[in-house]
Symmetry: C2
Subunit: 152 residues, 2 copies
C-alpha cells in the first residue's frame, strides 16, 4: 500500500515530524498537493517530503507561509521539481538569508556598542532605527560608525 509514490497523510506526518492537521493546512494554502484514493483519502508523492522540509527550513529563517508559497510558485507545475529547480529557489533565498545574517550581525554589534551608551540623539542612534542605518550600506561596520558619531 505505502509504496514510495503513494504516501498517506499519517505516513508523511510521521516522517516529517509535523501534525496531520498541519498537512491539511499546508494543502489549503497551496504549499503541497495530493490526490485522492477511492475512499477520498489523501495520497502524496515522495517529493512532498522535500517540500515540507523546505517549508520548515524556510520558516526557521523567518519566512512566512505566504512568502514560501510565492517562492514555490517558481517551481514547475507539471513535473516534479528536480535538483536544478530547487537549487534555483535556494539561490534566491541565499541572498535574503545572507542579508538577514548581516542584519543580525550588525544588530548584534550595535546592541553591544549602543545598548548601554548615553546617547540621547534618538534620530541618529542605530538602536533606535536600525532599518535606516542598514538600508543603504548593509554592513555591520556602518552601524558601529553611526553609533560612534553619537558619542562625539
Amino acid at each position: 500500500m505505502h509504496d514510495e509514490a503513494n504516501l498517506s497523510v499519517g505516513n508523511v506526518a510521521k516522517r516529517c515530524g509535523v501534525a496531520v492537521s498541519a498537512l491539511h493546512f499546508y494543502e489549503q494554502k497551496g504549499l503541497i498537493r495530493s490526490w485522492r484514493n477511492q475512499g477520498n483519502q489523501r495520497r502524496y508523492k515522495r517529493d512532498v517530503l522535500r517540500r515540507i522540509a523546505v517549508i520548515k527550513a524556510a520558516q526557521k529563517v523567518g519566512l512566512t507561509l505566504d512568502e514560501i508559497v510565492q517562492a514555490f510558485a517558481t517551481l514547475p507545475e507539471k513535473r516534479t521539481p528536480d535538483k536544478q529547480d530547487w537549487a534555483n529557489l535556494s539561490n534566491r533565498w541565499q541572498k535574503m538569508l545572507q542579508q538577514r545574517i548581516r542584519y543580525m550581525q550588525a544588530l548584534s554589534e550595535s546592541l553591544d556598542g549602543c545598548i548601554g551608551c548615553g546617547c540621547l540623539s534618538l534620530k541618529n542612534c542605530p538602536l533606535y532605527n536600525p532599518d535606516d542605518a542598514l538600508a543603504e550600506q548593509g554592513s555591520g561596520a556602518v552601524l558601529i560608525d553611526k553609533a560612534a558619531e553619537n558619542y562625539k
Copy 2:
C-alpha cells in the same frame, strides 16, 4: 509640560515610531511603566525610550515579548537602569544572538548544499532535521559534513 522626565504617551509614540496602542499594550505586559498625572493620563520617564528601542531591537532578532519581559526582569526595579545594567543584559543576549547567527549560517549552507540534492535518507538529512544536526556542535561545518554523508 513636556519636560524631559515627563513624556506623554503620544510624545513617546511619535519619538519611537510605535502606536499609542502598542504602548498601552507594552505597559499591560509589564515591559514599560508610567505614572499618572492629575487627569489620569500616562507620563513617562525618558528612559522609556531606550526600553522601547531595546524591545524593538530584540523583537527584530526573534525574541518574543515574554522573553523580553524576562530579560527586563534582571534590570533594577528601584532605580533607572544605568549603562552597566543595560550592558549586562546585552551580554546575555549576545550569546543567544551569536548562536542564532551561526544557526542561520549553517542553515544557509545546508540549504545550498542539500536543497537540490538527491538524498533520500531523511533521518540523516540536515534539511530535514536541522535542530538535531545543530544541537551539539553548533557550527556550520557540521551540517555540511552531515550533508556530505548523505551522498556517500
